[in-house]
Amino acid sequence: MASTELSAGLGPTITPSAGQPHAQSGAPPSRAREAATKTGQAFLRLFRTLRSNRKASAGFILLAFVCVLAAVPGLIAHDPPRAEIYGRSLGPSASHLFGTTVYGQDIFAQFIWGARETLIIAVVSGVLSTALSVVMGVAAAYLGGVWDGGLNLVTDTLLVIPSFPLLLIIAAYLPNSGVVVLIAILVITGYSYGARQLRAQALSLRGRDYLEAARVRGERSVYIIAVEIIPTMTPLIVATFLGTAVYNVLFAAGLQFIGFGNPASVSWGTMLYWAQNNEALSIGQYLWALMPGLGIAILGASFALLNYAFDEIGNPALRPVRRHRVKRPR
């Protein structure tokens, strides 16, 4: 009875749940502490979603595995990966777990050491490429008009220019350039696809009332793009990153082959190329091709599985529901 009167007087109320800590209207915490608690809460939320979602936990474990390989390869593999000192094309044995390459290198060592460069290329190029896609795509969509036209011109041109001939020309001017140039090339040639996708999604979001509400509130365009639009596009942005990262690993191997970066470096991508060049599968050295392929697959799978966790964070409606009503016994 009492609850009916209360709601009749004040309109719809939320029954406070028992036992849930709230921010009561007492003295608010200091700014630094509040920022720290907010990031702490964000991480806690991330871990909670990872734990609760089986796919996300699996993805996290796989990624952790690759990170361990990248972090401390020396602890796991004792042989030097690049030294061509062993017998050639040996099969798997106790001293060479995966056998050796045609050049006499230990495949196991290559596999373990290759994780580091692969991961670095994947993550760095993925992050930069996605950031560029976001800026070019979302800004073009929101600002519209001349900005849209101009930014799109750049993006579409890069999308359409055949990349390998362009890269061959660039390679002629920058031989043996190292990983930084490699990543720069990956980013510039790779961002345009993601930019088009993000622009399309941003265009569909442009008519949403909450953006108009933000404008009417007096927010500036930059704020609206950064704070109101981009967070709602998190799932697509993360998916773009994941796709770009994995694709770049393979593309990087190809680039390394035509002279960018250091062709003698060890990564899963280069392993694949050397294996393929020497027809590893037909000479019986299956593991030379399979192991780096498996490594890339594990990395890609971990990214894909982690995507689920980010879907939940990006869209609160997908999160596990909090009980905020007193549960009546059935």
């Binding site: 007087g9 004040l10 309109g11 719809p12 109320t13 939320i14 406070p16 709230h22 921010a23 009561q24 209207s25 003295a27 608010p28 700014r31 949403r208 009332d209 909450y210 108009e212 509400a213 933000a214 404008r215 009417v216 509130r217 007096g218 927010e219 109101e228 967070p231 709602t232 998190t234 990006g314 869209n315 609160p316 409606a317 909090r322 905020h324």
Partner: protein, 370 residues
Amino acid sequence: MTEPSTSQAAQQATAPPAASRVPASLRKRAARAAADPSAGAAALLRTDGLTKHFKIGGGLHRRTLHAVDDVSLSIGAGEIVALVGESGSGKSTTARLLARIYQPTAGEIFLQGRRLSAIRSRADLLAYRSDVPMVFQDPFSSINPVFRVSHGIERSLRLHRPELSRAERRAEAIRIFEVVGLAPGAEVLERFPHELSGGQRQRVGFAQALAMRPKLILADEPVSMLDVSIRIGLLNLMTGLRDAEDVSILYITHDIASARYVADRLVVMYAGQIAESGPVEDVLARPRHPYTQLLVSAVPDPRAELSVAADTDRGEPPRVIDPTPGCRFRWRCPLAIDACHQVTPPLRQLLPDHSAACHVATADAELRAF
């Protein structure tokens, strides 16, 4: 008479307005008029010949859509004006012109005597935005789903009341949430939009508008997407805000019944122009414009018998693309005369404070006066 306290305002926000009590807004208006007789009739917001045309089509068939044509209306302080019309009438475009989402093609808007086109600096623009905020129609897309509902109101406070400290902003957000009936404020602020019902989300929209201490709230069909039993709560909130917070509201709707329930004055729009305007009871009891008469007879009223006057009209939308001169209602009007096909009828005052844009109605009034 002391100002009503917060909790009283909360009660007033959702309890029905007492029919016999004189609303605080009327008392305030009387006090204003007594203090300064010349300012008694000064409008809070006034438009003069407001016009908005859109170019549509491309290449060879470029045409002009006359969304709003020569609209001159005024809204006083502490009053609710209902802007009623069907789709294609221009009511939403008018609201967006007032909210400065669109720039007018012609005409002028005056807020307390100052023209909008004179606004140049960002500070002036922010000041206008805080005076005239907008509440949107769709509770499901008018709040950003990624953030908690505290986000919007705290941004409003940050942008428009920078003198408040962090703690004061928080306290003010809680207070405003409770004024609009979302209690306990501290708890609701922490919720995400998907955890609130449609009615609660619309209240959040009103809270965001209130946070700026506005003079006029533009409410664009705030209840049409809500369940019927929830609507009354929000309509009562609107009248409560007018009485307790002395805020004017421009209530845009296609539902005449709810317009009658909350509004002091009624403005009926058709095909981008004002058809009729006046005190709400007057316009509904004695509609002068044939379109108003049609609307009134078409409204389903569960307590009344079915009126047959509207049976033949199909409700076809008006022609607003490259319209020819003449009354835009003439094709559906049972009373159309020759003049209606040639000359666009201007909005004329037929009775004190009651105007209509109709040749027949004007002639009728002149006859009576004679």
